[in-house]
Symmetry: C2
Subunit: 223 residues, 2 copies
């Protein structure tokens, strides 16, 4: 490949992450507020350019730490966005990642020079006019998450250490955008033999408290 051919020049490679978590029974995604042009003051998915001495996964984790202060996330690539006009300044190809973090592990570090103003949004509250094509990337990530929640063990990473059956069902319902029968859901999940009844109860007022479950240590896949 002749790197001097103008057809190959000035192409950048970005990584971009849709980081999901669950807390208070809500599914949330992390957005960062842009302070510079273009798209100043618009929300975007955390993203950044790939260095030429690291693979994309390393780049994505590095960018997340630098830009959001969040470490120790689980990430998986899901789609490449390569429309030549997706960025107005130069041609940028974006490798899209789904990220998952357990809200118990959420300790936002001290701000650095690069840290952006970040916030967790409930999936329904994500703004529609995001920077670049990030709205499209977000929607595609949501779809990819549907598949992954059924076929992989990301649930274990997504949920806090202790959770109730109605919370678990709620996460499924939000992500898959459909409702389940309470009895069938519980029966199915318990017979998968992934959960352990901790014997503890949720602390809540006004109604009967739910049983707290956790994932069994050795449980791996849901399939």
């Amino acid at each position: 490949m002749d790197i001097k051919n103008p057809l190959y020049k000035n192409q950048g490679i970005h990584v971009v992450c849709s980081l999901f978590t669950v807390n208070e029974g809500k599914v949330r995604i992390l957005l960062a507020l842009r302070s510079n042009e273009p798209y100043s003051n618009k929300w975007m998915l955390p993203s950044g350019a790939v260095y030429n001495n690291e693979d994309c996964e390393t780049a994505m984790k590095r960018e997340m730490i630098e830009k959001t202060g969040i470490d120790n996330i689980y990430i998986e690539q899901f789609h490449v966005f390569s429309n030549p006009k997706r960025s107005p300044l130069m041609r940028m190809i974006a490798i899209g990642y789904i990220g998952i973090i357990n809200s118990d592990n959420l300790k936002i570090k001290k701000k650095t020079e690069k840290t952006q103003n970040v916030e967790w949004f409930e999936l329904n509250d994500v703004p529609t006019d995001m920077a670049y094509d990030h709205r499209e990337i977000f929607l595609k990530a949501k779809e990819a998450l549907k598949v992954k929640i059924l076929q992989t063990d990301i649930l274990k990473t997504l949920l806090p250490k202790y959770f109730t059956m109605p919370e678990l069902q709620n996460v499924y319902e939000i992500i898959l955008e459909k409702n389940f029968d309470r009895r069938n859901f519980r029966k199915k999940f318990l017979q998968l033999d992934l959960l352990e009844n901790t014997g503890k109860l949720q602390e809540i007022k006004g109604h009967r408290p739910a049983i707290l479950y956790k994932f069994k240590e050795n449980s791996k896949d849901i399939i």
Copy 2:
């Protein structure tokens, strides 16, 4: 992004395709023979660099036409390969595609200046010492094909227009690397209501000829 920062320089973007087809009841993949260094005389997956004015899908289709003479393929991205050492000359990120073509549509065009020496390999005959990391890409593409054959309608593209039930079962068995009961396989497939009995028979000698089926016009998804 400051493109002059040395950390961002000299990164190339490739697309690389694992193109599958079925003929004579065999699943095959298209490889190209390298004539230049590095990896001279090794087999590789068809691939090439992305121009800065086209998206990756366009680039992949263009490269396939230029390098192999094959047009009208169905492609879908499946994984990005970004190990900084995957190419010895410069840092190249490869967007991996699965390609599917119906062997009826296989008319290799006239050779051009860029056309490489290409050949169809049965999956078991793919050489183990391919150029670059193409062996790894091929193996990962095979895994992605397993998922796609169960969850999408690529089967319709993969198979020739007319095919027999044993041929169809054989394609499943090769791709999924497991065997199915003849009666159950046929029953399941017929009740999916995707196939149409053409009333014609296979032309074959030495044993009972099989019924030729085709996909119904409007059949879409297998799920």
